[in-house]
C-alpha cells in the first residue's frame, strides 16, 4: 500500500473533519466526537504508513503536489504538499502518538462535561500539526503553524474558568507569536528575494540549489549573507514554538492544560514543530546561522536540565526536561546533523509521551496531586504505570543499548563532538546528560519509592485499561525505536544518504555511559537511598545549596526578568500611545476647536455692534412708516373704491392735459 503525494492532504483533512464533527455535535455527544477523532487518527496512521512506503521507495526525491491558492498579479500564489522521508516519518509519528493520546483521553476526560470540545480541539491540533509536516510552502507551513498555536491556546486554556489557565494560554500564544513575527519577517524577506515560497518546485523552490546559491551570494548589512539573516529570522519562529532560550517561559506554564494530555501535546509533538521546521529549511542555513542555532540549543539544553533539578511539580519537571531535550535537538541541527535531530525528535516523542501519560496516570490515580513531595510509594499499587514509567525514564536518561533515547542522544553528542567550530556546546551537552539522569532518578525515587506521604497517594489505584494500554504500547515503542539506529544506522541512510556513517565513536559512547551512571548514581544516593519521610521535609539538595536551588526553583527568574523589562516596556509604550492620544492629539483638536469658537465669538460681537445696529435702525423706521400708513386703512371699502376712482380720473386728466401740451 502506498499513498501518492497527490492524496497526502487526506491525512490532515481527516482530523479536520473530525474537528468539524466535534464542533457541531451537541454538548452530550462525547462518544461521537471521540469516535470521530480516534477514527480519523487511526485512519490517518494507516494512510501515513502508506505515505511512508511511497517516500521510502524514492528516499532522495521530494515528491510535491503544488496548487494555486488565489490569483496574484500575473501569476498565482501557490501552495503545495511535499512527501519525502522526513515528512513521512513525522506523519507516522504524529498520527501514531496522536491516536494513542486520543485513546488515553477517552479515559482521562470521561468526567468532564465539555469533553467533546476537547476532542474537537485535539483533532484541530492534529490536523494543523500534520499540515505543518507536509507543507511544501513556507506560507502553508506558517498557516498550519499558527493553527497549531491556536489549538495549543485552546487546549492550554481548556479549563478557562481557572484564571491561571487562561493566563497561561495567553502567555503561550503571545510568546510564540513574538517568535512568529521573526518567522513572518523571514518569510517576507524570502518571498521578496526569491519570488516564491515553495520549498521544492522542480528547480525553482527556495530550498533548491539555484535559489540557495542566489541567497548566499547576496550580502546584507554587516557582510552577512542574506540566507543567514533569513535563516535566523525563521529560527526565531522555531525558538518560540520549541521553547528555546529565551522564549521558553511559556512551556512550563502550558502545563495548566488538562493534565497531562495537552501537556503531552505540547511536549511531545507541538514543540517538535520548531525542530522540524529547522530540519526542513536546513538547506538555507549557512554556517553563521548554524553557529547561533547550536549555541542556543546548547544553552537551552543545559538551562532546562538545571531548572528541572529544582522543580517539585511532576509535570513541570517533565516540561523542563522537554525544554532541555529540545535544546539537544537544536544543538544537533546547529552542529550540522539534522538527521540526529530528527532521530531524537522521533524517539523523544515516544518516550516523552510515555512519561507524560505515565504522569497523567499517576495524577489521575492520586486525585490530582502533582507535587512529587506529596506522592511516594506508588510502586506497589500502580505496577503497570511504574514499569512503563521506568522504561520512559531510562530512555530519557539515556541508559545504554536497550533504550532508543540512548542511541539518539549518542548521535547528537557524536555530531557535537565532531563540530569544528567549538567544543563548548559539546561539553554543555555532556553536563546536561548528567543532570538529566539525575533529575529523572529523583523523580522516580520521590514518586514511586519510599512510602505514601499523603492520603491521596495512599489510596492510589491503577488506572483503567484505556490509559494503561497506551502506556504499554508506548513503552514497547520507546525500546523498539532503537532499531532505527542499531544494529545499523538505517534512518541515517534513509534521510541523508550522502552523509557517510562515521564509525569509531566507541570512546565517546563509553564516556556518555559513565556520565549517565554518575547521574543516576548520585540521584539515587541523594533521593533513593533514604527516602523522604514527610511531604514537608526539606529537600536534601536544597539543604546543601539553598541559594542555587531556590534560584533554579524560581526558573532562574526569567519570568521576573521579563516582567521587569519586556512587560514594562510594553506597558510604557501603551501608556505613551494612550497619553499621546488623550493629551496631545486630542488637545490639538480641542485647541483648534477653541480657536474656532473664539473666531465665532469675535464674529458675533462684530455682527451685533456693527451690522445689527444699522439693521435695527432701518427696521425701526420702517415700522414707524408702516404705522403711519396703517392709519389710512379706515376699513371703509367704499372709501377705497372712491379713492381709486378719483385717483383714476386725476391720472387720466394729467395724462391727457400733459399730452396736449
Amino acid at each position: 500500500m502506498s499513498l501518492p503525494v497527490q492524496y497526502v492532504w487526506l491525512i490532515p483533512l481527516l482530523p479536520l473533519l473530525a474537528a468539524g464533527i466535534g464542533a457541531v455535535t451537541p454538548r452530550g455527544g462525547v462518544k461521537i466526537a471521540s469516535a470521530a477523532a480516534i477514527g480519523a487518527m487511526v485512519l490517518g496512521f494507516f494512510l501515513s504508513c502508506g505515505a511512508l512506503a511511497t517516500a521510502l521507495a524514492h528516499p532522495a526525491a521530494h515528491a510535491t503536489a503544488n496548487f494555486a491558492w488565489f490569483d496574484l498579479g500575473a501569476g498565482t500564489l501557490r501552495l503545495g504538499w511535499v512527501l519525502d522521508p522526513i515528512a513521512a516519518f513525522m506523519l507516522v509519528m504524529v498520527t501514531f502518538v496522536g491516536a494513542l493520546i486520543f485513546i488515553f483521553s477517552t479515559g482521562y476526560m470521561h468526567e468532564d462535561e465539555r469533553a467533546k470540545q476537547f476532542f474537537c480541539f485535539l483533532s484541530l491540533f492534529a490536523s494543523a500539526m500534520l499540515g505543518v509536516v507536509i507543507a511544501n510552502s513556507l506560507l502553508l507551513l506558517f498557516i498550519c503553524w499558527e493553527l497549531v498555536g491556536l489549538a495549543s491556546y485552546l487546549l492550554i486554556g481548556f479549563w478557562f474558568h481557572k484564571p491561571e489557565a487562561a493566563a497561561a494560554a495567553k502567555k503561550a500564544f503571545i510568546t510564540t507569536r513574538i517568535g512568529d513575527l521573526g518567522l513572518l519577517l523571514g518569510m517576507l524577506w524570502l518571498y521578496d528575494s526569491t519570488g516564491s515560497l515553495l520549498f521544492y518546485d522542480g528547480g525553482h523552490g527556495v530550498l533548491e540549489p539555484t535559489a540557495v546559491a542566489n541567497l548566499n551570494a547576496q550580502l546584507v548589512f554587516g557582510g552577512l549573507a542574506l540566507s543567514t539573516v533569513i535563516g535566523l529570522l525563521i529560527f526565531c519562529g522555531a525558538v518560540g514554538k520549541s521553547g528555546q532560550f529565551p522564549l521558553h517561559v511559556w512551556l512550563p506554564d502550558a502545563m495548566e492544560g488538562p493534565t497531562p494530555v495537552s501537556a503531552l501535546i505540547h511536549a511531545a509533538t507541538m514543540v517538535a514543530a520548531g525542530v522540524f521546521l529547522m530540519a526542513r529549511v536546513y538547506p538555507l542555513l549557512t554556517p553563521d546561522a548554524l553557529k547561533v542555532i547550536a549555541f542556543t540549543g546548547a544553552i537551552t539544553a543545559l538551562m532546562g536540565a538545571l531548572i528541572a533539578v529544582a522543580q517539585n511539580d511532576i509535570k513541570r519537571i517533565l516540561a523542563f526536561s522537554t525544554v532541555s531535550q529540545l535544546g539537544y535537538m537544536m544543538l544537533a541541527i546547529g552542529v550540522g546533523s539534522w538527521v540526529a535531530a530528527i532521530f531524537h525528535l522521533l524517539t523523544h516523542a515516544f518516550f516523552k509521551a510515555l512519561l507524560f501519560l505515565g504522569a497523567g496516570s499517576v495524577i489521575h490515580a492520586a486525585h490530582h496531586e502533582q507535587d512529587i513531595r506529596s506522592l511516594g510509594g506508588l510502586r506497589g499499587p500502580m505496577k503497570v504505570t511504574f514499569a512503563t514509567f521506568a522504561i520512559g525514564m531510562m530512555a530519557l536518561a539515556g541508559v545504554p543499548f536497550l533504550f532508543s533515547g540512548f542511541w539518539s542522544k549518542e548521535a547528537i553528542l557524536h555530531a557535537a563532538h565532531g563540530w569544528e567550530v567549538s567544543h563548548l556546546p559539546f561539553y554543555m551537552g555532556l553536563t546536561a546528560v548528567v543532570l538529566t539522569a539525575f533529575y529523572m532518578t529523583r523523580l522516580m525515587a520521590e514518586t514511586f519509592f519510599g512510602k505514601a506521604r499523603t492520603h491521596a497517594s495512599e489510596h492510589a489505584h491503577e488506572s483503567p485499561a484505556s490509559m494503561t494500554i497506551p502506556l504499554v504500547i508506548l513503552a514497547v515503542c520507546a525500546v523498539a525505536l532503537s532499531l532505527l539506529a542499531w544494529p545499523s544506522p538505517w534512518l541515517q541512510h534513509i534521510l541523508d544518504p550522502k552523509a557517510h556513517a562515521e564509525g569509531g565513536g566507541a570512546g565517546l559512547m563509553v564516556l556518555s555511559i559513565v556520565l549517565v551512571a554518575i547521574g543516576i548514581g548520585s540521584g539515587w544516593a541523594i533521593y533513593g537511598r533514604t527516602t523522604r519521610e514527610k511531604a514537608t521535609s526539606a529537600d536534601p539538595l536544597a539543604a546543601r545549596v539553598p541559594g542555587v536551588i531556590a534560584f533554579l526553583g524560581a526558573r532562574m527568574k526569567f519570568d521576573e526578568l521579563y516582567a521587569a523589562t519586556v512587560f514594562q516596556l510594553n506597558a510604557a509604550l501603551a501608556t505613551a500611545a494612550d497619553l499621546l492620544d488623550r493629551y496631545v492629539w486630542d488637545a490639538a483638536v480641542r485647541l483648534l476647536a477653541q480657536i474656532g469658537i473664539f473666531a465665532g465669538l469675535v464674529n458675533r460681537e462684530t455682527d451685533e455692534d456693527g451690522l445689527n445696529g444699522g439693521f435695527d435702525a432701518t427696521s425701526e423706521s420702517l415700522r414707524d412708516t408702516g404705522k403711519a400708513y396703517s392709519r389710512a386703512q379706515t376699513g371703509d371699502a367704499h372709501g377705497y373704491l372712491r379713492t381709486v376712482a378719483i385717483g383714476f380720473v386725476l391720472l387720466v386728466l394729467i395724462v391727457m392735459l400733459g399730452g396736449r401740451r
Partner: protein, 538 residues
C-alpha cells in the same frame, strides 16, 4: 439586462425604502423592521447580480451609466463598477443588513432608525459607485447626516442619546466636515484649472503632468494637501483619528458596525480612487512621511487599544490599527512608484492586500462591535473590560462566535484577516522594508490586546454581570484540578436565533474567505495588476 440602470438601482433602492419607511407612519414595528431589512438586502442581491455579470478581466469600469446632469458645470451623472467598487458594494450589502438585524430589538422609534440606516447605506453605495466628483461628494457628505442622527439620537448608554453621545456626534460630524471642506476647496481649484470633475479625466491630467502645468507645482501641492486632509480624517490616518474612538464608542451597536464596516472604507476608497490616481507625483513625494504616519497608526493604534478599558473603544482602536494597514500598503506603493526593480509583484501584493483587508476588516470589526453590543445589552449598558468574566461558561455559542471574530481580527491564518495582512506585509516589505518591520510590532500588540479582551471577558470565573456572585464554597477557581463542572450561570443567556442571525453570516464568510480568498482575489486581481503595471511618475 443591458439597459437596466443596475448601479442606480443599487444606490437608490435603499433610498426608496427609506422614503417608504418615512411615510409609513402607522406601520407596526415588525413590518417596518422587515421592510428595512428587505430593502437593505436588495443592494446585496443586486450586487451579486452585478458580480455574476462582472467581467474581472476588464479593468475599466463596467455597467457605466453616463448622463449629462448640470451642463453649466460640465457635471455628469456617471456611475461605474470595477473590482474595487464591487468588493465594497458587496461589503456594504453584507454589513448593512447585519447591522439592521443587530438592532432588531431596538425599540426606540425603529421606523426612523431603519429609514436613516437605509439612507446611510444608499449614500455609502453612491460613494463607491460614483465616477464624478460632484455627486461623489454629495454622497460623501450625505452619509454624514444619517450617521449624525444615529449617533445623537440612538447612541449613548441608554440607546436614546445622551450628552456624551451628542458630543461625540458633533465631534464626528464637525471633524469630518472640516476635513472635507478642504477637499471641496481642492476640487474647486481642480475644476477651475481643468474644467472637469470626472475622476478618469482628472487622473489622466494628473498622470501626464497637465495638472501641474495648469496649477503650478505649489498649487497642486496645496490641492493635494486639501484632498489628503479630507480623506485622512475620514479613514482616519494617524494622528487625525481622535474623533473615532468616542464616535464609535457612543454610537449604537449597529451604528458602530456600519461606521467601522463601511464608512471607514469610504476613506480608504477615496485614497485609492481619487488621491492616488490624480496626484501620483505628490503622493510619491509625501510618501516617506505618510508611511511613518501609517506605521504610527498601526503600532500606536494597537498600543492605545491595550490601555482601553471600554470594550467599544478597544475595538475602535483596533479599527484604527487595521485601517492603517491599508494606508500603509498604499503609501508604500506610492513610495516605490517610479523606481526600477522587482517592485511590480510587491506592489500588486500590497494593493490586493489593502483591498482584501478592507473587506475583511469590515466583516470582523462589524462582528466584534456586534459582540460588544451583545455584552453591553446583557450587562445593562456596562461594557468595561472588567465588568465581565467567564462568559464562555455561560454562553458557549456566543463565546465561540465572538472568539472566531477576534481571531479573524487578529489575523489568524485560516480566517479571512490573514490573507489581507499577509499580502500587505509581503508588499510593504518589498517596497519599504523598515516600515514593514516596525509595523510587525502592531501585529504583536494586536494579539496582546485582543487576547486580553478575550481572557478578561470570556475566561476566568463568572464575573459580576455574567452569573451574579459565585457560590464561595464551590468556586472552581480555587479547585486545583479544575475538574469539576463549572458553576451554572444564571442570567447571561446564550444567543437566541435572532441574535445569531447577524453574526452567523459574518462568521461563515470569515471561514470561506480565509480558506478560499480567490472569491475576492479573482474579482480584483486584474484591476490591481493593471494598477501596478502603470506605476510611473509624470
Amino acid at each position: 439586462m443591458n439597459n437596466l440602470p443596475l448601479l442606480s438601482l443599487i444606490i437608490f433602492t435603499p433610498w426608496i425604502g427609506a422614503a417608504l419607511l418615512a411615510f409609513l407612519r402607522g406601520a407596526s414595528v415588525s413590518v417596518t423592521r422587515t421592510l428595512a431589512l428587505a430593502f437593505s438586502l436588495a443592494p446585496l442581491a443586486l450586487g451579486l447580480v452585478a458580480a455574476a455579470a462582472f467581467d474581472p478581466a476588464r479593468t475599466a469600469p463596467q455597467f457605466v451609466e453616463n448622463h449629462l446632469w448640470i451642463s453649466a458645470l460640465n457635471v455628469h451623472y456617471r456611475l461605474g463598477l470595477d473590482g474595487l467598487s464591487l468588493v465594497l458594494v458587496l461589503l456594504t450589502g453584507i454589513v448593512t443588513p447585519a447591522a439592521l438585524l443587530a438592532a432588531w430589538r431596538q425599540e426606540h422609534c425603529p421606523r426612523m432608525f431603519g429609514a436613516l440606516f437605509l439612507l446611510l447605506q444608499g449614500a455609502a453605495l453612491g460613494v463607491f459607485l460614483a465616477l464624478d466628483f460632484f455627486h461623489w461628494f454629495v454622497f460623501w457628505e450625505l452619509s454624514l447626516v444619517p450617521a449624525f442622527f444615529l449617533i445623537k439620537l440612538w447612541g449613548g448608554a441608554s440607546g436614546r442619546g445622551d450628552a456624551p453621545a451628542t458630543r461625540a456626534a458633533y465631534q464626528f460630524v464637525i471633524y469630518t466636515i472640516g476635513g472635507s471642506a478642504f477637499m471641496l476647496v481642492g476640487f474647486a481649484a481642480l475644476f477651475v484649472a481643468t474644467g472637469t470633475l470626472d475622476f478618469h479625466q482628472l487622473a489622466q491630467h494628473g498622470a501626464d503632468g497637465a495638472l501641474a502645468a495648469k496649477l503650478g507645482a505649489s498649487g497642486v501641492r496645496w490641492v493635494f494637501l486639501g484632498v489628503l486632509l479630507g480623506l485622512a480624517v475620514k479613514v482616519p490616518l494617524w494622528p487625525f483619528h481622535t474623533w473615532l474612538p468616542p464616535a464609535y464608542a457612543e454610537a449604537p451597536t449597529s451604528g458602530s458596525m456600519f461606521l467601522t464596516g463601511v464608512m471607514s472604507k469610504m476613506g480608504v476608497y477615496g485614497f485609492l480612487r481619487i488621491l492616488w490616481p490624480i496626484f501620483p507625483a505628490q503622493l510619491h513625494a509625501a510618501a516617506p512621511c505618510l508611511i511613518w504616519l501609517a506605521v504610527a497608526g498601526v503600532v500606536l493604534g494597537a498600543y492605545a487599544a491595550l490601555r482601553q478599558t471600554d470594550l467599544k473603544r478597544l475595538v475602535a482602536y483596533s479599527s484604527i490599527n487595521h485601517l492603517s494597514y491599508c494606508l500603509l500598503a498604499l503609501f508604500a506603493v506610492a513610495y516605490a512608484t517610479g523606481r526600477n526593480g522587482l517592485h511590480g509583484e510587491a506592489a500588486t501584493a500590497a494593493l490586493s492586500g489593502a483591498i482584501l483587508q478592507m473587506f475583511n476588516h469590515g466583516l470582523s470589526a462589524a462582528a466584534l462591535f456586534y459582540c460588544v453590543g451583545v455584552l453591553e445589552s446583557r450587562a445593562g449598558g456596562k461594557r468595561g473590560i472588567g465588568d465581565f468574566g467567564g462568559v464562555r461558561t455561560a454562553a458557549p455559542l456566543f463565546a465561540g462566535l465572538c472568539g472566531i471574530s477576534l481571531f479573524s481580527s487578529l489575523g489568524l491564518p485560516g480566517l479571512n484577516g490573514f490573507v489581507g495582512e499577509f499580502l500587505i506585509f509581503r508588499g510593504v516589505f518589498g517596497l519599504h522594508g523598515a516600515a514593514a518591520t516596525v509595523a510587525c510590532l502592531g501585529l504583536l500588540a494586536t494579539a496582546i490586546f485582543l487576547l486580553t479582551f478575550w481572557q478578561k471577558v470570556f475566561h476566568g470565573p463568572l464575573g459580576p454581570n455574567v452569573g451574579g456572585a459565585l457560590r464561595p464554597d464551590s468556586s472552581s477557581a480555587t479547585d486545583p484540578s479544575g475538574h469539576q463542572a463549572p458553576p451554572t450561570p444564571n442570567g447571561f443567556a446564550d444567543l437566541n436565533a435572532i441574535e445569531l442571525a447577524p453574526l452567523l453570516p459574518l462568521v461563515v464568510l470569515m471561514f470561506v474567505l480565509g480558506v478560499y480568498p480567490q472569491l475576492l482575489a479573482g474579482l480584483i486581481n486584474p484591476l490591481v495588476t493593471s494598477w501596478a503595471g502603470h506605476l510611473v511618475l509624470p
